[in-house]
Symmetry: D3
Subunit: 168 residues, 6 copies
């Protein structure tokens, strides 16, 4: 379950005095080392998952393309998410694992040294990587479904460490 | 549950003779009217959902930003998804609904007249719109989670009509 | 002066049934030859204008850069203007003239064969070209001012021919 | 009126030794806090302005879209203006006001900590925001005209504070 | 050797009446099937080439990344080459071969149905793919050199078939 | 000739533990002044080269467009080269020279203050500039050929100074 925070007094920081969206000024936040890990999970038929796994030992590799797509998407995050600050990322990586016979898990890790966090970069990398898997396999399994996209961990900055509570 | 297709004889169409990824040539596919609807669902705390709903009657509107983000993302799909064909989209729309006290549903519909489908455009619009909601609300609810991204319906082209089977 | 139209019954076409922005579907509009001409005028000091003019006979040519910037901007219009349809432009040109000792005029013409007009492409080309002139000359004249950006002429499509009425 | 500067000895800094355009090296300029405010004014029919104002209290909000467009454009400035340095912006905001019954004013403020100013980012944000208003209203008022785009204020860097002299 | 054409009477088509660059209007050219093949050849140390070849049988595949980079670059060609028309490509493929112990050859094929050729798309795909190989191997062989980039074949359109004459 | 390095123990740094591509984390590399110079050479017919040279004294200047294209490409490098870090470039310049009656040489210099080098930016600028020359002249000389693209010099960072050994 989702944690229920008492957020009565918290502000939606992306809203300006006219009540419209703005890109919050972070000029007074000292730059620190930032890291975020996001995860996406895709459910598919067993046959599709087998085909993707085989790709791992042949050259025609669905995951190699999904890897590149995720890395490039991380770099374009501020171009896609309207109020997201542009950041010179220092590192991006994606790892793939097979959770069970019908689930592919993608974990994206992004790092930078900057004044804002890289949650959105990690989430965008994981999401676009998952959509790329869908694109490459949709001819054989159009009902593939993304069942989870979420932030797993984040460190750096004033809000400190965040670690997602276990879902079990 | 996910439908299990018998896909033994089906091809991953995005793989060339060298076993690498390519952008399949669609020059011989006659252009037809294409439509796709994709859906994303975000789970959040009740307090966050209330804040988003309030935005709908004030000016500072999370969903207005998520709407624009989704439309712009649809147009950039072929820039994000490596093997996706560029298509001159004829229409893009997103609709928002509150499924229950902790779930926001985003439905993206994309249309074109072309030689390939617009599933990826609809899925990308819904995904980026959902990530934009996360971005704007993450200061008050970092554990917001995307619980579903999937294709709901698609028409046009050789593969004909696809309608996702009910999950219940 | 600006024409005052009676637009009580006209619709803001970019608004969907939920009252939000969408990209209007144009799939049923037959493609026709489209052309639009937009104009931008920049006021500057006489000395700045002389420097730009000189560039026209030397190699270091402010206008050559502004020309390329305008053409490239026309191609990126649908990436900048949220509800604008992507269109495969068939031609883009910009012409420069010196209206008086302190005014540079830029006229951008854009053509396509498509289902929507190219007004936004012509306006974006003229605007970005003008901003490029500002960028290259701002070190010597920071108060340069764009005094006019407007559509001059448009043809093709259901709304037919538009020609801006003379301002004098 | 435009200020007339004596610029005989000033250089067009964007010109290299071959007389061609280049992106000036700023590696030796110490980074400082930078801020710029730019303004755009759009003249339209009274009926159009009323429709935009109404949007401010309903959900279908022309200005909400123009706001997002301006923010995203600020982030793409160095992609549009050929000789402009890429900068990691720390904040972007746009404010709208109705100057008189036929004039909408857009004011864009951009901030960064860097080696070059953010004039071009503020000007691009204001310009693209104004063009977005045009795009959303052109079906009801094709003769809408941008009557002013200019830098209002800039601080930070060697050239120090610039404040536009009043035009009255 | 390069063929020497008698081009005294031929026009540089990208120059307008003011002697400046423009994007030539192609609205009157009937769309036809277009195909272009371009080639890039990279010279490197034998040890580097062996490392790249090994990648072909392991998962860490330099060529898989270069493949994706080439395909994505083809789609961005009109964004990079100022006077190039935007085209909805129907297919893109890249093939790799090892010409001799120190030379990697990349061949890019691009197809569309349109009013202009796809030479620039094929050349851009081959070039960016080659630069990606350089990027991934530069830590072990900084002196890698691209020794050839050229158009090999092109068909469709008024100028008809072009086949590069053998260099031997 | 290409230098043959003994690279048995060197790592392809862009490969992660799963054997896939990643963007190497550079957060622990101290930022330093970085500079890189890359070169591209294009062989063409004598008549084509004469036409380009003439452009240098008239306004319709092939090289002015190629200059702008190269500068803009440098800024988009991390968008094109998948594993390349985004960097806020401080300076970009291109110089053109005529090596012999059939060869145009383009030299691109890029500078930054950062944690990674700018080799890829300089190589991308030179390559896209060369392709732009091809695009503008292809109507009169389709067999124009890029005979060389390589890094000439690089300074800054741990690997220190690199100067390409003379080829004669």
């Amino acid at each position: 379950m989702n944690e229920k925070e008492n957020n009565t007094n918290l502000q939606l920081t992306h809203i300006n005095d006219q009540g419209r969206a703005h890109m919050v000024d972070v000029i007074n936040k000292a730059p620190t080392e930032r890291r975020a890990i996001a995860r996406a999970e895709i459910e598919m038929s067993e046959a599709t998952l087998v085909r993707i796994k085989e790709g791992g030992i042949k050259k025609g590799d669905v995951l190699a393309v999904a890897q590149v797509a995720g890395i490039m998407a991380a770099k374009k995050t501020s171009d896609m998410i309207p109020l997201c600050h542009p950041l010179p990322l220092t590192g991006v990586d994606l790892l793939f694992s097979f959770l069970d016979p019908t689930t592919l898990r993608i974990e994206a890790e992004v790092r930078t040294f900057g004044s804002t966090g890289v949650e959105m970069e990690a989430l965008t990398a994981a999401s676009i990587s998952a959509l790329t898997v869908y694109d490459m396999c949709k001819a054989i399994d159009r009902a593939m479904t993304i069942r989870f996209i979420g932030l797993m961990e984040k460190s750096g900055g004033q809000s400190g460490l965040f670690v997602r509570q276990s879902e079990e």
